[in-house]
């Protein structure tokens, strides 16, 4: 085939074990189709997602990072997600300074029963990232 493959963004998803990972499993059980762009890394709680994990993902070539956890008030560990919520603007700021557009980093809540919501979010994020093209960090300079 001579035609070059379409650009397929790579999204690294950090999903908490109790709500969003279970929700993503549910999307599967319900056979809801969504783009293969997302590759999920299971964490116990979104509170566990060290900002350096997000930076690492971008450094390794991710075009987007999605963190998804339990709805506020429903975190399996009381309020790990609230900590993540507080961290998010700071982290987004830092990423922008590194030249990573705001659209490339997303924090969301999806409960164990919201497989469809999760699938939709992946679809949306993929649709946004596609026209943006691959992440180009400082003209190929390494970060971190």
């Amino acid at each position: 085939m001579s035609k070059k493959k379409d650009f397929e963004p790579l999204i690294v998803g950090f999903l908490c074990n109790w709500c969003s990972y279970t929700g993503a499993d549910l999307a599967g059980t319900a056979r809801i189709k969504y783009p293969t762009s997302i590759k999920i890394v299971r964490v116990m709680c979104t509170g566990m997602v060290d900002p350096s994990y997000v930076v690492k993902a971008f450094k390794e070539g991710a075009d987007g990072v999605l963190i998804s956890g339990c709805h506020p008030g429903e975190c399996h560990y009381v309020e790990g997600n609230v900590k993540t919520m507080r961290r998010e603007p700071l982290l987004a700021n830092l990423l922008e300074q590194l030249g990573i557009e705001r659209e490339r980093f997303k924090l969301m809540w999806a409960s164990a029963s919201e497989g469809e919501k999760f699938a939709k979010a992946v679809q949306e994020m993929t649709d946004i990232l596609k026209p943006m093209g691959p992440l180009n960090l400082g003209g190929g300079k390494k970060i971190g």
């Binding site: 397929e8 790579l10 690294v12 109790w18 709500c19 990972y21 279970t22 993503a24 499993d25 999307a27 599967g28 059980t29 056979r31 809801i32 189709k33 969504y34 293969t36 590759k39 999920i40 890394v41 299971r42 964490v43 116990m44 709680c45 509170g47 566990m48 997602v49 060290d50 900002p51 994990y53 690492k56 993902a57 390794e60 070539g61 991710a62 339990c70 008030g73 429903e74 975190c75 399996h76 560990y77 009381v78 309020e79 790990g80 900590k83 961290r87 409960s111 164990a112 029963s113 919201e114 699938a119």
Partner: protein, 650 residues
Amino acid sequence: MSERIGVFVCHCGTNISSVVDVEQVAKDAGGWDNVTVAMDYKYMCSDPGQELIQSKIKEHNLTRVVVAACSPRMHGPTFKKTLERVGVNGYLMEMANIREQCAWTSDPGELATEKATALTRAAVKRVNFHQPIKESEVSVNKATLVVGAGIAGIQTALQIASAGYPVYLVEKEAYIGGHMAQFDKTFPTMDCSACVLTPKMVDVNQDPNIDLFTNSQVVGVEGYVGNFKVKVRTEPRYVNLKTCTGCGDCVSACVMKDRIPSEFDEGLGKRSAIYIPFPQAVPLKAVVDKESCLFLAKGKCKQTCIEACQVNAINFQEEEKFTELEVGSIVLATGYKLFDPSIGPQWGYGLYDNVITGIQFERLANASGPTGGKLVLKDGSQPQRVAIMHCIGSRDENYYAHCSRVCCMSSVKFAHQIKEKTGAEVYEFYIDMRCFGKQYEEFYNRVQEEGVQFIRGKGSEVVEVDGQLTVRAEDTLLGVFREIPVDMVILNNALIPQEDSDQVASLFGLCSGEDGFFLEAHIKLAPVNTAVDGVFLAGCCQSPKDIPDTVAQASAAAAQALSAIALGKVKLSPVRAAVEASRCSGCMSCVNICPYGAVGFDKEQKVSVINQALCKGCGTCGAACPTGAITTSHFTREQIMAQIEGVCAQ
């Protein structure tokens, strides 16, 4: 020394292999660093599949295993045991979720295979950093807490108690029995509800192993599987449970006698302010409703009840009480609520006298109900034509999407009872008939033969046409619109989650499903378990179900609690955080961030220390640590970083 990793890719019949080229994934994996052997197989979780893994472990002296198959939430425990049976620590295994999170959500082809490969590669990279973990065990308190004393809670409590172990049964109402105590007959056998239930209620009261708390609610839960500490609040009953004989003298002496709508009779009958809701109530003791008692509400009353009571059981000074309980397991059997049809004016409920709900019909039909079992209209006459409308509030995108599961059959039951009691014409309006249980279809056929008219079409409206109650519906079998004049309409309303189910869920750390009912850990593999170890579900709080299914599930929940008691110990999740003292700068960021107060500070050494008994392993402290001094076992920085590299590598 580098690891020797075995990679096992599952076809899952054709579940995975019809979308993902599993052979290609295994072939690629064979070329990765440290991978000693990589292969695919049709059913990795089957006996031969597991034996294959075990034989490869022995043959190649594997030190790590990756299984690319379903979700670790499905078969993680299975494959962990596979390793343990050949003497390898179960934590040296990692699963790649290529079914639920890949094959089932992707179209067949290259992209799906690429994704499965990436997930498998991430698992391989991660497993290099796995450490053997020894799970700690804790002893199990032999007592069980059961919340809710409807048929589900009663069944669970009796079953555990009959094995000889203590049960605390907590019920928020003043009496046990729940909705089932209100029913008249039960389908499909038509035996009377009371005949099935009341002996069990009496057993609860008499069983020395059951400690019954009525008027009570759980207000605090601490601890973990095997060792929960629970706080129960008991509202005052204003009647001494020990001395009250249940004679009813106070009830007839009450100045509010026959003036308060009875909840038990669904507003169709009246009660006093001090009352016993029905003759077979357990406990058979009076209770004062503080809202309608003149003395408690207004401070002014002749207190005729106190005069009437010969054993001085009434005490208006009684206050709320708190009790602390220690239990090993918790079973939630908090039941359901009925949908309020007055929300939709199209059903005429609350607008027209002879539009009633299913549960009101139960009370009318019941021999100890407000009419002594006579089926009559508001004016006392017998109905000639009765409509029964299914799915009120359920299977309706404007209200609740779920099927209430019992309404088809209870509607058939109502029809049979109406025929038996009055010979009236009966019209059933249904979307489709769901008679799935044992002997249900047979029962439905029998009632059809009794001359009941089944009209396929959801009744859309109940109106009054020239003073005549009328049901409007589309008959989808005949393809015509129908207007049927009737004397009485029975709305079979939906079973929905309890009002406070969200608070209860957060109190016990549970998740709720889309429909608002509590979510089980796995719909097929762990239907009575929840996301919280040691907390189980029984009955309609998990989803609507009929009495046979409720009793079966309640017994299953009892079995879960009993198996923990029998073993005497449970394994704790080994995911815990720990501080590496030499890297800790003593900034104390972690101390404040921990939701469990598990992180303390050693003032002498100026480092943080994590109390392993309190830590639940969320890892939030680790993410906050600026020096990377905190590691969460099985979710270490190296492991996650390696996994990220794995998914990103092309």
